[in-house]
């Protein structure tokens, strides 16, 4: 057995202190600029700051830390006393937002370790962060067998790298009662494993409270989604990404609930005033697949340059479901169902119809004029869905751009190249 990678307090502290400063600087800069499109983003980034602060506190207090893959939302873990959940893809998820080149050293570390370039950057970034010893300590790592081959194998590699156990829960292929039964079984298994490894017991009252907070968050996002059907669309395109980030980090917390409430109230306020991200919407877009993390400003640019608002993005599509908090059984069953329905877990597994049905519901329900589908270089099932996407757009007479890039690493396709490709498409296909 080779040696395991252990917690490196200095590297952890340095990395996440820098990250926290960057988050605070970003908030400060947005407040100074005063772009009304960023009001909600500022609130979400404040929650990110709280998340980072709590992570530091958990390390200081020597709480048992669980690394959970981003397709396990954290609310369930708040039921465990003395346990603190940290989204494992924290570095991959944040770094490119704070610095377009921020993830590169971690991607490079993973590739130098032997991972091929065509592995998803989320997984390369995560494993790179582990290899660079910047991650917080870990008692247990948990992940679903979702959303893709890259993630499934990344956690198998992780099992070899760290001493803590790694548990992978079997996500069903089908979206049916049998599937829920399977996943429910695995969520129970995860709960028992947390109890065993972290020497704790699930406190169902605590869990229930977190579930109530998470439910309100879901309700708020679903209503906000509905408001986006209005023209003008109350909120800017980039907000969808940040909302997903908020749910990955903070569902089940008071801050998460409060920010989701703030976003919904802001949406209602704007709608009542017939105001939106754009005073005059020339084009309503959908961007269905992950945005370029290092260039979320692409949505602002689309709005400013072309009067084109992203009415709904993939990450912004609230497909989550509610959890009945009545009993432990309903909580676990509905958490399983919710995790089968969150963004990516729902559309990226199973047959192509799981993706296409949601794609079409946005295309037809949000009054979309034109479609951008990020053709993520490493997303192999996505690449092989292009034929279905193309056919659906052709049948409906909607201009389509299959936009190729790496979502977290700007080196394969630069920001300029992304903008140039979109500009050419807008000028020749959409606005012509």
């Amino acid at each position: 057995m080779g040696s395991f990678i252990r917690f490196n307090r200095d590297r952890f502290t340095e990395t996440f202190t820098d990250q926290r400063i960057a988050v605070q600087n970003m908030i400060e800069a947005m407040e100074a600029i005063g772009d009304p499109r960023e009001i909600c983003v500022i609130e979400i980034m404040k929650t990110v700051d709280v998340f980072l602060q709590r992570m530091f506190e958990a390390v200081e207090q020597e709480k048992k830390i669980i690394w959970h893959e981003f397709l396990f939302f954290p609310e369930i873990f708040y039921g465990f006393p003395n346990v603190h959940p940290v989204m494992a893809e924290i570095v991959a998820g944040f770094m490119p937002i704070l610095d377009p080149e921020g993830l590169n050293p971690y991607v490079d570390a993973a590739e130098n370790f032997g991972l091929p370039p065509d592995i998803c950057p989320a997984d390369k970034g995560f494993l790179g962060a582990v290899l660079q010893e910047v991650m917080p300590p870990v008692s247990l790592a948990v992940a679903p067998t979702s959303p893709c081959d890259s993630a499934i194998t990344a956690y198998q590699i992780l099992e070899k790298l760290i001493e803590a156990p790694v548990l992978q829960c079997d996500v069903p292929y089908w979206q049916d009662a049998r599937g829920v039964e399977l996943y429910t079984h695995h969520i129970w298994k995860m709960i028992r494993r947390v109890e065993e490894v972290c020497h704790t017991r699930m406190d169902w009252d605590r869990c229930r409270e977190a579930i109530r907070l998470a439910n309100e968050c879901v309700e708020n996002f679903i209503e906000e989604n509905e408001m986006r059907k209005l023209s003008p669309c109350p909120h800017p395109g980039k907000l969808g990404f940040y909302q997903f980030m908020l749910t990955c980090l903070a569902t089940g917390t008071v801050e998460g609930r409060d920010v989701s409430r703030f976003i919904l109230e802001d949406s209602r306020r704007l709608a009542a005033q017939k105001k939106g991200a754009l005073a005059e919407e020339k084009v309503r877009l959908m961007m269905y697949n992950p945005d370029p993390f290092y260039d979320l400003g692409v949505h602002d640019w689309l709005e400013d340059e072309f009067g084109a608002v992203t009415a709904l993005s993939f990450f912004g599509h609230a497909t989550q479901t509610l959890i009945d908090p009545s009993t432990p059984e309903t909580i676990v069953r509905d958490y399983a169902w919710k995790m089968m329905n969150i963004c990516m877990a729902r559309q990226y597994r199973g047959p192509h119809e799981f993706f296409m049905d949601d794609f079409l519901s946005v295309l037809e329900g949000w009054n979309v004029d034109a479609v951008i589908v990020p053709a993520l270089i490493q997303c192999k099932h996505g690449q092989a869905t292009h034929g279905f996407v193309r056919e659906a757009c052709r049948e409906r007479g909607k201009p389509l751009l299959l936009l190729e890039f790496d979502p977290m690493d700007a080196r394969p396709v630069s920001q300029d190249k992304i903008h140039n490709t979109i500009a050419e498409w807008m000028e020749t296909q959409v606005l012509a």
Partner: protein, 379 residues
């Protein structure tokens, strides 16, 4: 040897002479991509299971309406062949989520290539959604239910009732092929193996695309004549070949031409396909489900430690000097398995070389150089 030439011939074309005879006699053929779909069930329904390949494909122009240059070329070639009508001899297709890309290829087969045939009612379409945690009872139960669904579909479409006895008989028949192949692999443990890796691959490929009876007859005949044969008297090193979909013996031949004799493998079309036997006692459906779900896995399964232990055993038992790994470019599962294998091999001091390839043989100059350097590094 005549038998070896015959095996090579069986794998040369998409539709081989034995399949033609099977069809001419009124037999049905159902295509699959992956051993997630157990042969035993198809055989029990009286149909011939056929592992889909694209040995005659030359380009992917038809496929690239659906796939892109960033997809693996095995997927692109089989889609191209399907859209070109090359698999029109099939009477059915059972898809599965072997990997993300094959999952979408199954979608394209179902929703595009075979849609009209299935709508007419004369083409069988089914899907097996395979879970990924091998020793979990709920995952196994889920998988068993998938097989039950497949069984019902086969019964309904092919108007046959698959009894326990029929399934038990087909288990024995498939196990017979597996035992014969294991006998062949046992011979390769010898210091001077009687077949090369390329020859062995042509035999295992033939096993996946040939009706069982003629295949077993031919393999028995070969096994009876192998004593005393030294397939590669001048080989320099013994190699274990590990990796993804590879059905072209010519690719292995390139390695062996440099002096590296492949003595065992862990390939989709090789030992991983047949090594584990199905239990011949007890409930046959349980046995098929357990065997398939818990067989020597590929990296789609959450099964790293057991998989690597298998690799370690094969390297040890076949006395391999090193591991040559192969993956088709853009295969994420095997891109990660490369890392997992290297980590383990490094700990054990086993030299490894990983080669990236496309589905169709090409770039052999670079491959030769790398294999030569690898062999020299071990000498």
């Amino acid at each position: 040897m005549e038998e070896l030439e015959r095996f090579a011939e069986l794998g040369r074309d998409t539709l081989n002479p034995e399949m033609r005879s099977w069809k001419e006699a009124g037999g049905k053929i159902v295509g699959t991509f992956c051993t997630n779909v157990p042969e035993e069930l198809l055989l029990a329904a009286g149909v011939m299971p056929y592992r889909i390949r694209a040995p005659e494909s030359r380009d992917t122009s038809e496929a690239d309406r659906h796939t892109t240059y960033l997809n693996c070329t095995y997927c692109r070639h089989v889609v191209d062949e399907a859209l070109s009508g090359r698999y029109d001899f099939l009477d059915g297709f059972v898809g599965t989520n072997g990997c993300d890309q094959m999952r979408r290829v199954s979608d394209i087969f179902r929703a595009v290539a075979f849609r009209e045939a299935a709508a007419r009612g004369d083409f069988f379409l089914e899907y097996v959604g395979a879970p990924r945690v091998p020793f979990d009872p709920a995952s196994l139960a889920y998988y068993r239910h998938e097989l039950e669904r497949l069984k019902q579909g086969l019964e309904s479409h092919f108007r046959v009732q698959i009894t326990e006895e029929m399934l038990a008989a087909s288990i024995r028949k498939v196990n017979d092929s597996r035992r014969l192949l294991r006998d062949l692999y046992e011979l390769r443990k010898r210091p001077h193996p009687p077949v090369t890796g390329a020859e062995a691959l042509s035999i295992t490929v033939a096993s996946a695309v040939t009706p069982k009876e003629p295949f077993q007859r031919l393999l028995r005949s070969l096994l009876a004549r192998l004593d005393g044969r030294d397939a590669a008297p001048n080989h320099r090193k013994r190699l274990f070949l590990y990796g993804s979909e590879l059905d072209d013996p010519a690719w292995v031949q390139v390695i062996e031409d440099q002096g590296g004799l492949v003595v065992a493998d862990g390939l989709c079309f090789g030992a991983r396909m047949f090594w584990d036997l199905t239990d011949e006692g007890g409930d046959p459906m349980d046995a098929v489900a357990r065997r398939t779900h818990q067989r020597w896995s590929c990296p789609r399964m959450v099964d790293r430690a057991r998989r690597q232990e298998r690799v370690r055993e094969m390297v040890r038992d076949w006395n391999a000097d090193g591991i040559v790994g192969e993956r088709i470019v853009f295969c994420q599962l095997w891109g990660s398995e490369k890392v997992m294998t290297d980590l383990e091999a490094r700990e054990r001091g086993t030299p490894t070389l990983w080669l990236e390839r496309e589905y169709r043989l090409g770039g052999t100059g670079q491959m030769k150089t790398r294999v030569q350097a690898f062999l020299e590094s071990m000498e």
